[in-house]
């Protein structure tokens, strides 16, 4: 495996990350796409198994009503009761910190605390437990993730107030997607076939969102792992498309095709330009227009430095685990200009382990 010496900044990041992870408790999240997929059961059952293996496990928060299946598991576990403030449940963080178990189970990460509580939301309570060195296992539905709530609302028609920021989930040490596909049997005889299809479609769309979110979090973990071990990201599971633009390129079709491909693969789109010392005003204007297109389609835009454009592009691509490079090939300059020895040729030769897509224009 190719190794690369970490930069001083990366070393510092590693040391800090390591120190923090030593003191902090570990966070594990069971992620569901809809209620009733069984995430709470999975969490409590894991608590039971850990307790049987000798770990000190308590329940910090649970739903007021539980299924028989869950009730049976809960019986075997210690509960630190919720406090009620104005009839709303609040996790008793001070009591949990005094009790200081090794693992605390928190069902429903997305609750809001009543006004006047030290923390506005339960995820902040969990953050405090982690900071106190208590590991937490918790559950959440995708509809309560702030960055996703709008999309989920469009599908379900249900608005939720309480949300957890995505960045909090990215810090999770482990994330498990609880993927039980919806029962295809009609829910009850009162629904019509049309309603069943609509419901199946909605649940399927929610399921897809949950799987992709988990994949993204896992991708972060992979990057972190590679960084920790000083490995370059030469193998990713995600498609990464790098579109190379120059002022003269016919950039719009390339960027739009890149967007469509990246979307289809649920991958990442990067548009890169290698800085040139001086540009004529009309070239600068053309370049600005290309980069505007890139921003328009939400591409990550990278301005690369380097005397050698081809080398800069290839180095960036290798470093960032790019799987496809899109380049334009101008045929305008006539028959005399052969492809051999051109930039495009050199990218094809240098793109070891990456696909190159050539766009004629």
């Amino acid at each position: 495996m190719e190794t690369r010496r970490p930069t001083p900044d990366e070393l510092l990041q590693q040391v800090q990350a390591h120190e923090e992870s030593q003191a902090r408790g570990r966070l594990k999240v069971f992620l569901g796409y809809s209620s009733g997929v069984g995430k709470s059961f999975r969490m409590f059952d894991e608590g039971r198994r850990r307790k049987e293996r000798g770990q000190d496990v308590v329940i910090g928060a649970m739903q007021p009503k539980t299924s028989d299946e869950i009730a049976e598991v809960i019986q075997k576990l210690e509960i630190v009761p919720l406090r009620y403030v104005e009839e709303r449940p609040v996790m008793d963080v001070p009591a949990l910190i005094r009790r200081h178990p090794r693992v605390c189970l928190v069902d429903g990460l997305a609750y809001d605390n009543p006004a006047g509580s030290p923390n506005a939301s339960r995820w902040q309570d969990v953050r405090d437990l982690l900071a106190a060195g208590i590991s937490v296992i918790t559950t959440i539905n995708i509809q309560y993730i702030a960055e996703l709530s709008e999309r989920v609302e469009q599908l379900t028609g249900k608005h939720v107030e309480q949300t957890v920021p995505r960045s909090f989930l990215d810090q999770a040490d482990e994330i498990v997607v609880v993927d039980a596909p919806p029962d295809t049997a009609p829910a009850n005889s009162e629904t019509t076939a049309g309603e069943d299809t609509a419901r199946a479609r909605m649940l399927s769309a929610l399921r897809e969102i949950a799987l992709l979110l988990a994949a993204d979090v896992v991708d972060h973990q992979l990057e972190a792992y590679l960084r920790r071990n000083g490995l370059s990201a030469t193998f990713g599971a995600q498609e990464r498309i790098l579109v190379c633009v120059t002022p003269r390129a016919n950039a719009r079709p390339m960027i739009e095709s890149g967007r469509r491909n990246a979307d289809r693969f649920h991958g990442e789109l990067i548009v890169a330009y290698v800085q040139q010392p001086t540009l004529r005003p009309e070239d600068q204007a053309a370049l600005d227009a290309h980069l505007a297109v890139a921003h328009e389609v939400n591409a990550r835009v990278e301005i690369l430095e380097g005397d050698e454009a081809v080398e800069s592009i290839l180095a960036f691509a290798r470093e960032h685990g790019v799987t496809q490079i899109f380049v334009g090939h101008s045929l305008e300059r006539g028959w005399l200009r052969r492809i051999r020895g051109s930039h495009v040729d050199r990218i094809i030769r240098g793109a070891d382990g990456m696909d190159v897509r050539v766009f004629p224009h």
Binding site: D179, R201, A215, V218, Y225, N261, I339, V358, P360
Partner: protein, 374 residues
């Protein structure tokens, strides 16, 4: 068996390594079905000496396996005929990608499953992401393991449901160390390839993305059904516009297999039509060594098994013949193998890639590089 029998439904429990709990979860579902009074049997089950899993088979009927002798050794295979005879509503079949012992009626277990489905029997089965044909090169790149037992992607696409059985890699490694998954000696070997943490994380991400893709493609048909129910009777007939058409160039070189896998995978994701074409140069067609001709035929056959339409063309010039065929068929992307290292260096003749890129003024050219282990 009645000819009008509706086909059985297939559900695949997809994992990313041994020990994630695919079989366990499949058996839990079988137990659920039985509790609801559904007629369910176990057609094939691989215990791997995992106590938790074995316990989940309790009370489920097992159709005895068939004993097959091959070269003096006795093997046990699923008894497809006996299951057909028994004709249950649901059948549990472990290890979907398994290859049968030579001399069996069908060479692959997925083909046996196909027979059960045709007979109207619903099937629950398990597989790991490593065994999906189009990911073979990718998996090798990640893990260093060249998986031999593969399943064509279309077989999985035909499943009614694909469920991801997820567990974090750390938990999996813990299970392995506690001896739950393999015996100690086998565990040690496993740790050296598939069970390295970075490999597991990457495979897990692949499995999550693949499941999302499977979910999404099934959604498209639900959307069409919904449109059909809600509006005009013809609304559901309109397929999504196919913007892309992909042409894969097939040669006798080993790299052709990789280009075919990659081209098919891209085509599936883009919902594109896909052709695989080999070109025989007229001048050389008589002098071509038999080994090369056979390799081309083998590669075209490989493409057909992945449900790609294939052609063997004759022409005076490979690049021109390819492009002419591409233009006639409205191809938008042409997939070629990247020339071998040494071939770039020869300045005497431009490579096929050079010539195609120079001539393809009206379509994109995708040059596929050999994946390497880092």
């Amino acid at each position: 068996m009645q000819p009008s029998q509706p086909r059985g439904k297939l559900k695949v429990f997809l994992g990313y390594a041994a020990g994630v709990g695919k079989t366990y979860q499949m058996l839990c579902e079988a137990q659920d079905l039985k509790r609801k009074g559904v007629d369910v049997v176990i057609g094939y089950f691989e215990p791997h000496a995992r106590q938790d899993t074995i316990a989940r088979t309790e009370g489920l009927e097992m159709v005895p396996r068939r004993r097959v002798e091959y070269r003096g050794t006795e093997f046990e295979e699923m008894d497809t005929d006996a299951i057909l005879e028994r004709n249950p509503a649901f059948c549990v079949v472990d290890e979907f990608p398994h290859t049968n012992v030579p001399g069996s009626d069908r060479s692959k277990r997925w083909q046996d499953v196909d027979v059960l489905l045709d007979a109207g029997i619903n099937v629950l089965t398990t597989m790991n992401i490593q065994h999906l044909e189009s990911l073979n090169d990718h998996v090798w790149q990640i893990s260093g393991v060249r998986v031999r037992e593969t399943i064509p992607d279309w077989v999985v696409q035909q499943a009614d449901q694909v469920v991801m059985v997820d567990v974090p890699p750390e938990a999996l490694i813990n299970r392995l160390l506690r001896g739950v998954v393999y015996s100690q000696e086998k565990a040690k070997r496993a740790m050296e390839n598939f069970f390295q943490e970075s490999t597991l994380v990457a495979l897990r991400e692949l499995a999550l993305r693949q499941t999302a893709h499977e979910v999404e493609s099934r959604q498209d048909s639900l959307t069409a059904a919904q449109a059909a129910e809600q509006t005009s009777p013809h609304a559901g007939d309109v397929p999504a516009a196919r913007v892309d058409r992909i042409l894969i160039h097939v040669t006798s070189e080993a790299s052709a297999v990789m280009v075919i896998r990659r081209g098919k995978r891209v085509a599936d994701y883009l919902h594109a039509d896909c052709f695989a074409v080999a070109v025989q140069e007229r001048a050389k067609s008589n002098s071509l060594p038999a080994a090369q001709r056979e390799a081309v035929e083998r590669h075209l056959n490989f493409a057909r098994n992945l449900h790609i339409e294939t052609r063997l063309l004759q022409g005076d010039d490979v690049a021109e013949t390819l492009l002419e065929f591409a233009r006639l068929n409205g191809v938008t992307q042409l997939f070629l193998a990247r020339p071998k290292e040494g071939h770039f260096a020869t300045f005497v003749r431009p490579t096929l890639v050079h010539r195609v890129v120079e001539m393809a003024r009206d379509m994109q050219v995708m040059i596929i590089a050999q994946r390497k282990r880092c």
